[in-house]
């Protein structure tokens, strides 16, 4: 009503210029940051992606050939078959992981089983490992010289079975985290109402639980599918002759130096990932209003049969996951598989240190440290400037878009774009090529979206008027940023930092194109060791990465606890 009246007559609407405030010099500082962040993401995200598009319509000499590369690609049966291979393995992985993770998450949130924290932590362990650890482990279990090879009869683990099994292990925690939070977000009052109406358990599950977690289930499916279709390490190690898109890109670019065809495959890979990403984005948007502030958290009630079956399921899954992890660690200590099972440090000492591979581990540590410090700082400052400062409104939507774009770009594609863009000697940034810096930038961009969104969420929880109050007190925004925003957001910043550290330690896909002999990374070294047949040292390196990630996570945990204890103002 009042709005209708408000719109009515508008004497000043016609022709008058809109007033703008003069910009205070302190706001200019924010604008410089904002523009800088935009430029950085344009150079290190948009430009490489554009380079792929350009490359895909050029021949080897750089002449424009239209869609000829695509025509030739789809005319090559072996390559086109990879599309089908990637699609059905990723679908199968999703179909297996999702029910497993859902049941596990259901047990954690809706049953009265004991040791929930322990079970959860075991199930999350794969996150600390490079994805190819699972592949190595399955080779030790079921490979040609595997302990349980006999179980497979005439079949073999190399190829699709190994890929699917390893991917299920690797994707399980990602699906689990999403589903646990989806299932935690349920209003107990719905269940009370159902009980009061005498609703049966099955009907209750189908009419309340599943619809409530619907968006979480879709989101988890998208994450698992994307991970599975774009993972490189697993099919590289255990795929054998079974080709998928990610390994094709690698073979075409690194093996055959056919950049144009590599670019075509990258675009083919980009399509399903972009689609799932768009679906997920749509779903996330619809989810927001699902739970009101007045919702009552669900508290499970004990039920003997249900709890026992849930406990049995969870411990079985946890045991399988532990078996996968433990095999890689165990094999790294076995002197000579499968002939001499005495334990020794040979693979670490001879294979890694004397083999000259150990520096790769140090490079990874350095990379992870850069990502966890400068990378996390860049992401946080950018999110702050984006959300909490004023002016330069034209750039903000662009920056928002670029910040969430990496979620839809597989690592292999991003990495390929980086070589295309930075390898050219006429690029002023060519000097970055082959340095640790470009690996760090690439890793930060690769994992930008989720860290950015975490930072934004944390910043949105802070009173928006802090900046207004500061301005009224004539205090420049950066003082308030340093004195208030950073201390208040420290727990979130630690989270970002830890996330980037662990991912920098474990990532393979993007960096496999970008490393130079001086900057080989631990995860890439595993690929190379495996290719050379040194699977023992490969297992050693993978174990080293897991141990490092776990240790660093523990340090972060201690830091968080120290924050909670020393900063009493955090507690109400």
């Amino acid at each position: 009503m009042s709005q209708a009246a408000g719109i009515a007559l508008d004497p000043a609407a016609a022709g008058t210029a809109v007033t703008r405030l003069r910009v205070h010099w302190s706001d200019r500082v924010a604008h410089v940051f904002l523009a800088g962040a935009c430029a950085a993401l344009a150079i290190f995200l948009l430009a490489p992606l554009a380079a792929i598009l350009v490359k895909s319509v050029q021949d080897r000499d750089g002449a424009y050939v239209g869609l000829e590369n695509f025509v030739r690609y789809f005319g090559t049966p072996a390559l086109a078959r990879s599309i089908w291979n990637s699609a059905w393995t990723a679908t199968l992985v999703t179909a297996i992981t999702l029910p497993l993770a859902f049941t596990f998450a259901y047990a954690l949130t809706r049953s009265c089983i004991r040791w929930k924290t322990l079970l959860r932590n075991i199930a999350l362990v794969p996150i600390l490992a490079p994805s190819l650890l699972a592949a190595i482990s399955f080779i030790f279990w079921f490979g040609n010289q595997g302990l349980l090879k006999v179980l497979l009869g005439s079949g073999q683990i190399y190829g699709a079975p190994g890929i699917v099994a390893s991917l299920v292990f690797a994707t399980f925690p990602h699906a689990l985290m999403i589903l646990v939070s989806a299932l935690s977000l349920t209003d107990a009052r719905l269940y009370e109402a159902a009980d009061a109406l005498g609703t049966g358990a099955v009907r209750r599950f189908l009419t309340i639980t599943v619809p409530g977690a619907k968006y979480g289930i879709i989101s988890a499916a998208m994450v698992v599918f994307t991970y599975a279709i774009s993972d490189f390490g697993i099919p590289k190690v255990i795929g054998g002759n079974f080709n998928v898109l990610a390994t094709d890109i690698f073979k075409l670019v690194i093996g055959m130096q056919d950049f144009a065809k590599g670019a075509v495959v990258a675009i083919v890979l980009l399509v399903p990932v972009a689609v799932t990403y768009a679906v997920d984005g749509y779903v996330q948007k619809r989810q927001s209003a699902l739970l009101s502030a007045r919702s009552v958290p669900y508290v499970p009630r004990p039920s003997r049969a249900f709890d026992w079956s849930m406990a049995a399921f969870c411990w079985l899954v946890a045991a399988l996951m532990a078996a996968v992890l433990a095999m890689a660690v165990y094999a790294s200590f076995v002197k000579l598989w499968p002939y001499n099972f005495t334990l020794s440090l040979d693979h670490y000492r001879l294979g890694l240190v004397d083999g000259g591979v150990f520096p790769a581990y140090l490079h990874s540590l350095a990379l992870a440290a850069w990502c966890a410090t400068l990378g996390a700082a860049f992401i946080f400052v950018t999110a702050y400037v984006l959300e909490k400062t004023r002016g330069l409104d034209g750039l903000r939507p662009l920056l928002r878009l670029m910040a969430v774009l990496p979620m839809g770009v597989p690592g292999m594609v991003l990495g390929l774009g980086y070589i295309f863009f930075f390898v050219r000697e006429d690029n002023p940034l060519h000097f970055l090529y082959g340095t640790l810096a470009i690996l760090a930038v690439n890793t930060v961009v690769h994992y930008y979206s989720s860290t950015h969104l975490t930072a934004v969420t944390a910043l949105k929880q802070i009173d928006n008027e802090f900046e207004s109050v500061s301005a009224s007190l004539k205090v420049a925004f950066w003082r308030t940023f340093a004195r208030v925003t950073v201390p208040v957001c420290l727990p979130t910043m630690l989270d970002l930092s830890r996330y980037l550290f662990v991912n920098a330690m474990t990532t393979v896909s993007a960096v496999v194109f970008l490393y130079s002999p001086r900057t080989t990374l631990a995860s890439v070294a595993i690929v190379n060791l495996d290719e050379a047949g040194d699977i023992g040292p490969a297992a050693a390196m993978a174990s080293l990465i897991v141990a490092t990630s776990a240790f660093v996570c523990f340090l972060y945990y201690l830091a968080q606890r120290a924050l909670d204890r020393t900063q009493a103002w955090r507690l109400p």
């Binding site: 719109i7 007559l9 004497p11 000043a12 609407a13 207004s468 009224s472 007190l473 208030v484 955090r570």
Partner: protein, 354 residues
């Protein structure tokens, strides 16, 4: 000279006009209150004065200086928000000193100023506490101290009390008003609570749909509302359809009443307005001027007084009448009772019907 002058301040958000050419003067040292329902533009107007929103057109002059295009950092005001916006990781003392640190005030002087301000708002012991350790009312006082620390020429209060419970709110009203009068700082208070506006303000600006409806002292706004909207928004109101009856009288149903018709429209349908407490029931005889027969429909006991719903003979629309405890004790009215009420001519106001 006026302390703050707004001229033709206009604000559009896309197609929606939030403020229609608002012009307003704020006198030095007064407490001016923007009062109106949510969405009336009062907070937008405050934020434009603070430079947190930009007017689409129009000008603002504060203390002789054109501030129309100045960024917040270059304006001279202190502000208190509904959410307090206290920095949670800083102590009360650090919060209050926040604007002083930047101005290179020496430490000893700064501490003295903080102590002075905390004493002023009645929280001398809280200097080392964190905001989360204080109650809502205490937090609001710290926010006030912080806004006053740099001795701004203008104090802006954006619904400062609406997050507090009723009892604290009433007490803080008096405290803020007392403080404002002692310091003599020109203050603008935004509120949707008419009681808050009436009890605190020197002048009230009633707003509706992005335009100023009436400006005046609280008593004026209450007793002589300039429009049916103001009458209805501030206090409880009876509005009855009416028409001119000739010789300066007004016709309401079958009754004719005396009233002041100055300023009322010459013809067409009218409405008469009066407050529930203006309705007299004690000692009303058949020959009392402006009286009419009525019947009690409902009696609502509200503590200090009782609110009766009564129906004048021959008039469909019910009206409210507030009776003191003494009136009620004497008359012992119950639903269904007949009575005679009178409407004092000087309390009746006449508006054009919408």
């Amino acid at each position: 000279m006026e302390f703050l002058s707004l001229r033709n301040v206009h604000k559009r958000f896309g197609d929606f006009v939030a403020l229609h050419d608002v012009s307003l003067d704020v006198h030095p040292g007064e407490l001016l209150c923007f009062l109106g329902p949510s969405g009336c533009g009062k907070t937008t107007l405050l934020r434009i004065i603070a430079g947190l929103e930009v007017q689409s057109s129009g000008s603002l002059v504060q203390a002789g200086r054109d501030i129309s295009r100045l960024p917040p950092m270059e304006r001279d005001y202190g502000i208190v928000f509904q959410s307090y916006a206290l920095f949670p990781n800083l102590t009360v003392g650090e919060n209050v000193a926040y604007g002083l640190v930047n101005r290179r005030v020496p430490r000893a002087k700064r501490e003295a100023r903080v102590a002075e301000l905390l004493a002023l708002v009645g929280l001398p012991e809280s200097v080392g506490k964190h905001p989360a350790q204080l109650s809502g009312g205490q937090q609001q006082r710290v926010a006030l101290a912080r806004a006053l620390a740099t001795s701004p020429g203008l104090l802006l209060l954006d619904e400062p009390l609406s997050a507090l419970d009723a009892r604290v709110r009433t007490r803080l009203r008096g405290e803020i008003r007392g403080l404002q009068q002692r310091l003599g700082v020109t203050t603008i208070l935004v509120t949707h609570d008419q009681e808050e506006a009436l009890s605190m303000a020197d002048r009230i600006v009633v707003m509706k749909d992005g335009a100023i409806e009436q400006v005046g002292a609280p008593a004026e706004i209450y007793q002589r509302p300039g429009s049916p909207f103001v009458a209805d928004f501030v206090g409880r109101t009876n509005l009855l359809p009416a028409s001119r009856a000739g010789n300066g009288r007004i016709q309401v149903g079958s009754h004719t009443f005396d009233c002041d018709l100055a300023g009322a429209p010459g013809n067409g349908t009218l409405r008469i307005f009066f407050r529930p407490e203006d309705v007299r029931v004690r000692g009303v005889q058949g020959d009392t001027p402006n009286s009419a027969g009525a019947r009690v429909e409902k009696v609502e006991f509200l503590g200090a007084f009782s609110r009766l719903t009564v129906r004048l003979d021959g008039i469909e629309q019910a009206l409210l009448a507030d009776l003191s405890v003494n009136d009620m004790a004497e008359l012992r009215l119950r639903p269904g009772d007949a009575l005679r009420v009178s409407l004092p001519p000087e309390r009746l106001r006449v508006f054009a019907a919408p």
